[in-house]
């Protein structure tokens, strides 16, 4: 009997306990560190973006007061200049005139004299010093009141393309509630000296001239441009993740960090690890613009009857072309972008139920990346007609 009383107290005590709580995590009120991104490649301009990473519970000025930047190529100091945003360009993008205003968040870059748009580059410096394959690049940045950061990297050798095979394909996709036809170009790029330890990048640029020739002699021309969507999917491995898909979302665009990587404008680059190459062949599928030539009719608006009426016939000619940018990138560049992609997509990791949530960096004393790459561009190839099912 005497045993019962303490147990009653014990059970009562349990019932009074609360079952929920928040907590203040340790170590989130850290100081600030420099966040530096620099991608050095075989182009004529190398940009350096410098920002401030603040402890998640810290306040204060969000931009760093940069005191000095040193970029050495093979030990030789290069001249660094502050990047100044260009004036808005002339009206060149009829579909999105907002892009041409001063308030626009984007600025154009020109590839083969055609404008492509990226986020505006604030807090950016650059050097015109030429960089080539095999160069050693080192970077040091100092900012007021912050730890100095440094990094070094070697520019990889350019890829040597032995052969490029491209064949148009078509297949039928059945999704949960509808079925559709997907056409794509299947690429097989044979690389010389490809190694499983190397990392590669691919960008497919594409362009299409739409020429409308009316029967009354008028000719209208529109131009579309963009990047091919690499899908890497085939009948044999549908829905199975591959390394290409794993890193496929790691688009190296300016969305994450206000930075674009080089003057080739490779903001739709997809990265792959060399260990997915089969005997030195990089194989992937990509949706592209197709060339086309067909007759059609057009309508004109009759103001007398206030109705659309037949206007006559026209010939639609679509001349499409594509161009491949094939990169070899440094392991640091690959890891940085892959980690960034995983961060954005792995919700299980966010809850601590799966690995792979981290921010890769090779910047000593700070964050960001000093990545290197070399780019090999092919000529523009004419695109074929869309394949039939």
């Amino acid at each position: 009997m005497k045993l019962r009383l303490p147990f009653i107290f014990l059970i009562l005590g349990c019932c009074l306990c609360s079952c929920e709580y928040n907590f203040y995590p340790e170590g989130l009120d850290k100081g600030s560190k420099l966040y530096v991104q620099c991608i050095a490649g075989n182009s004529d301009t190398t940009y350096i973006n410098i920002q401030k990473a603040m402890g998640i519970n810290s306040g204060g000025e969000i931009m760093p007061d940069v005191e000095s930047i040193s970029l050495k190529i093979n030990g030789k100091e290069s001249s660094i200049k502050k990047y100044v945003l260009p004036d808005p360009p002339e009206y060149t993008y009829p579909d999105y005139p907002y892009f041409e205003t001063k308030d626009s968040p984007v600025e154009p870059i020109y590839i083969d004299d055609l404008p492509y748009y990226i986020l505006k580059r604030y807090n950016m410096w650059y050097t015109d010093a030429p960089i080539k394959e095999g160069d050693n690049v080192s970077l040091e940045v100092r900012a007021k009141g912050m730890e100095e950061v440094s990094a070094s990297a070697k520019v990889p050798q350019e890829v040597v393309v032995k052969e490029i095979k491209a064949s148009p394909r078509c297949t039928t996709i059945t999704d949960f509630d509808f079925t559709y036809r997907e056409t794509y170009m299947s690429f097989d790029i044979s690389l010389e000296g490809a190694s499983p330890d190397d990392y590669y990048g691919i960008t497919v640029m594409q362009e299409q001239d739409n020429i409308l020739s009316y029967d009354d002699g008028r000719v209208e021309t529109y131009n579309n441009k963009g990047y091919g969507r690499i899908i890497n999917w085939s009948e044999s491995d549908s829905e199975i993740m591959s390394e290409l898909q794993a890193t496929g979302g790691a688009w190296i665009d300016s969305y994450y960090n206000g930075y674009f990587i080089d003057s080739y404008g490779a903001n739709s680059m997809k990265l792959v690890s060399g260990n997915i190459l089969k005997d030195g062949h990089l194989q992937f599928d990509c949706s592209i613009f197709w060339s086309e030539d067909h007759e059609s009719t057009y309508a004109i608006f009759d103001e007398d009857t206030n109705m659309w009426v037949d206007g006559g016939s026209l010939t639609v000619t679509r001349d499409a072309r594509y161009k491949l940018l094939i990169y070899k990138v440094s392991p640091e560049f690959f890891r940085f972008n892959k980690a960034q992609y995983l961060l954005e997509t792995n919700y299980l990791a966010e809850l601590g139920l799966s690995p792979s949530t981290y921010s890769y960096t090779n910047i000593k004393g700070g964050f960001g990346v000093l990545g290197t790459l070399t780019c090999t561009a092919t000529p523009w190839y004419p695109a074929p007609a869309e394949p039939e099912q």
């Binding site: 014990l10 907590f23 203040y24 998640i56 604030y122 039928t172 829905e239 199975i240 961060l343 981290y358």
Partner: protein, 739 residues
């Protein structure tokens, strides 16, 4: 914390109050003998890091859901982290939980848990004893990197029939043993199964019936779901003579979760109602099946031979079918389905010999050959039936690896001097998979210095290789996980460990151990791909990234055994680090880097009819990765145009510390037929500490009143962690009858 202190105080007061009662001093001889035997055996072992538990100890411990659990008992041992609460994780000396060698009567077992890790696969009623090695591995063990759990099942009674029947909150179990041929052949059979369907099936049937009442028989939704697990052990032993015996061991364990939902919908066409059904069917099934034949023969007084032939199969099956009905002048269906299956089979034979040429040498040597098959596959089907353009899209991805693993070992337990004993051994392993050969030589050594009658010093060195890799995309023990072999790309995992310790029986009732270890691990693999539940079958070699690990620490144990009270106090101070270059350039904490771990356990045999148990468990919080920096971009006009977070290193966030109190009591009585029956009441997590299973960082908001007088909330500028605890207080009761 205040609540914690109050509850611990209450628990202690309960114990102290109870201690004041008059103790009935009967039936303590058996327990005392077990204790003395165990102390003697532990001290006799040359190895460090060895914990020997016999079945009676396992069965008398705390039992959530009235099911004593081997793995949860081992989780309390020093140097072992349990990982996610209530799961069957066993993270030994910084290991990753998939690197423990589980042997059931000498046969390796891959799947060691039921119900996503809630219960271990071992039926404690069948267990005779187990050896748990955390370091100082003898050469006879190999194939896993971090620990060895060598479980031996009991032989049946050769003279009389006995058994145990137990009913818990979720499962029931029965074990029966006795002679098949008196004095010569015995059997011991155990069966365990959940009985929750007794409740869930009628409940679902009732819900379906109610739906029929409301919607009518044609339109009512019909749901069917049930979960169950079961396992079965059988051991038949035949004694040809006292020196010659043959055993047949069978084990089968399986979890099953079938689910189906049938939903009706209708369409009016031409004034006629057309009814069709959408169906969803799912099936999860996973488990092991194992069979072995064991022959033990004392060839001479000095030479003993044990040979085991076995086959073990681990299989996971997940299947789903969805069929969507539509009406287009006729019935049309859209069907999709997916099956994921993973089979791992091991067929092997081992021969172990024990030879004692002279008193100073105890030599063990042996060989093992295993054939392993790893066959994960994924099959999918998508089709439309009845549409104008029917489409069928199906495919299959499968991988088949066949491997041979063989090993030779020899070890000699040498009494070098009266005060010095050594166990020197070497193990040679060969692993062949798809033309790739991995050969490994693993030296093992243990030294024991006798410091008087009651104290020893021990040191050990061991190297271990592991050729099997768990391929999982999450930290959960899901049936989607599978096993794959080392290949030309994926190297065998490797560990090297040195350990040393001081062991003393300071008094007949007090055993103290103090051990330290340092362990390094190479070729660890962790998933580095995008979020996925199904592990990638054909690209796992590239999506898993390679890294290293190291762990070091000190662990101490105080085991006190009096006539009526048994207490254990374990403390571990440890560090566990990882280095994966793909993740981070430097070493970072492992997610189970629990700096401090304390386990306090007490059993009090108040009287032959009444036992009490209390256990308090504490460890520094597990770790997870959270953003710790933020980068904001500002344009020339001062507007913030971008914001992104930086996760500065993996496992940067320490979750709140873990602690809980468990209490249990057994009330025993003797039935009219003279059998022992026990009522058990167990309370898990007595003070309902919602220990964080996971957490996330979010902005902190504070309440305020707007100038217009409306209540509102606004960010404080600080971040807080929101911890999600899943396991509240769990009281359970059960009944056990021994006959």
């Amino acid at each position: 914390m205040k609540r914690l202190i109050i509850n611990v105080a209450l628990a202690l007061s309960a114990l102290i109050s109870a201690y004041g009662q008059e103790i009935e001093r009967t039936d303590t001889l058996r327990e005392a003998r077990i204790v003395a035997d165990r102390v003697r055996r532990d001290r006799a072992a040359t190895q460090t890091g060895l914990q020997r538990l016999d079945g009676s100890i396992l069965r008398r411990g705390f039992a959530i859901f009235n099911t004593p659990d081997i793995i949860k008992t081992l989780q309390m041992m020093p140097g072992v982290a349990g990982g996610t609460e209530l799961m069957s994780g066993l993270y030994v000396h910084g290991g990753d939980g998939t690197d423990n060698l589980f042997l059931l009567d000498g046969v390796p077992l891959n799947q060691v848990s039921h119900l996503v890790g809630l219960f271990s696969s071992f039926n404690s009623d069948m267990v005779e004893e187990l050896d748990f090695y955390k370091s100082g591995f003898p050469a006879r063990y190999g194939g896993r990197m971090s620990s060895v759990v060598d479980v031996r099942t009991r032989e049946g009674n050769f003279q009389e029939y006995h058994g145990t029947f137990a009913l818990g909150l979720i499962d029931g179990r029965i074990q029966v043993e006795g002679p098949l041929i008196k004095g010569t052949t015995s059997f011991n059979v155990g069966l365990r199964r959940t009985w929750s369907e007794v409740v869930t099936i009628p409940a679902i049937a009732y819900a379906n019936r109610e739906a029929v009442k409301e919607e009518g028989p044609e339109m009512a939704e019909k749901v069917s779901a049930s979960y169950n697990f079961s396992d079965f052990n059988l051991k038949i032993t035949h004694k040809f003579s006292n020196d010659n015996r043959l055993s047949l061991n069978l084990y089968g364990g399986e979890d099953r979760l079938p689910v189906s939902v049938k939903t009706a919908s209708s369409v009016y066409d031409g004034g006629v109602e057309h009814i069709g059904y959408d169906t969803v069917k799912g099936k999860l099934q996973w488990g092991n099946i194992l069979g072995s034949l064991n022959w033990q023969y004392d060839i001479t007084d000095r030479l003993y031979l044990e040979t085991t032939a076995y086959r073990s199969k681990n299989r996971n099956i997940i299947g789903a079918r969805v069929s969507v009905w539509e009406w287009d002048g006729k019935d049309i269906y859209y069907n999709i389905g997916e099956d994921v299956r993973a089979h791992t089979t091991t067929t092997g034979i081992t021969a172990n010999a024990y030879y004692k040429p002279v008193e100073a040498h105890h030599i063990r040597f042996g060989a093992m050959v295993q054939h392993k098959g790893y066959a994960p596959e994924r099959e999918y089907l998508t089709e439309s039936v009845g549409y104008s353009s029917n489409v069928k899209f199906s495919g299959k991805n499968d991988v088949l690896f066949k491997a041979w693993e063989s090993s030779l070992y020899a070890e000699d337990e040498i009494a070098v001097l009266p005060w010095l004993k050594a166990n020197i051994g070497v193990r040679s392993a060969l692993f062949n998979v798809n033309g790739k050969n991995w050969t490994k030589l693993e030296p093992r050594a243990s030294l024991m210095f006798r410091l008087g009658d009651n104290s020893d010093l021990k040191f050990s060195y061991s190297e271990m290789n592991q050729f099997d890799h768990s391929v999982a995309t999450t930290y959960l023990d899901l049936p989607t996980n599978t096993w794959m072999p080392s290949t030309a790309v994926v190297q065998p995992m490797f560990s090297r460990q040195v350990a040393g310790g001081f062991y003393t029986t300071a008094a007949p009732w007090l055993k103290i151990t103090l051990e330290g270890w340092y362990k390094t691990m190479e070729h660890l693999y962790e998933y580095g791909g995008p979020m996925a539940i199904y592990p990638p079958i054909d690209s796992w070699e590239t999506l898993f990234t390679e890294g290293r690990g190291k762990s070091w620490g000190l662990e101490t144990g105080f085991e006190m055994e009096w006539e009526k009270i048994t207490t254990q106090a374990y403390y571990t101070l440890s560090w566990s680090r990882r280095k994966f270059d793909d993740f981070y350039f430097d070493w970072y904490p492992d997610r189970n880097d629990n700096r401090h771990k304390i386990d306090l356990l007490a059993n009090w045999y108040v009287s032959p009819r009444f036992e009490l148990y209390a256990g308090w468990h504490y460890h520094t919080g597990n770790r997870m990765t959270a953003a710790s920096y933020v980068v904001k971009g500002k344009d020339d006009a001062g507007n913030i145009y971008s914001r992104f977070e930086i996760y500065d290193r993996p496992n940067s966030l320490k979750l709140p510390d873990y602690h809980r109190l468990d209490l249990g009591l057994n009330f025993k009585r003797t039935t009219r037929r003279g059998n022992e029956s026990t009522w058990n009441l167990s309370i898990y997590n007595v003070y309902c500490r919602m220990n964080a299973v996971f957490a996330h960082i979010t902005e902190e908001y504070e309440d305020y009143t707007t100038p217009e007088g409306y209540p509102s909330s606004r960010p404080t500028g600080r971040s807080i962690g929101e911890a999600f605890g899943l396991i509240p207080i769990i009281p359970t009761f059960g009944y056990t009858l021994k006959f």
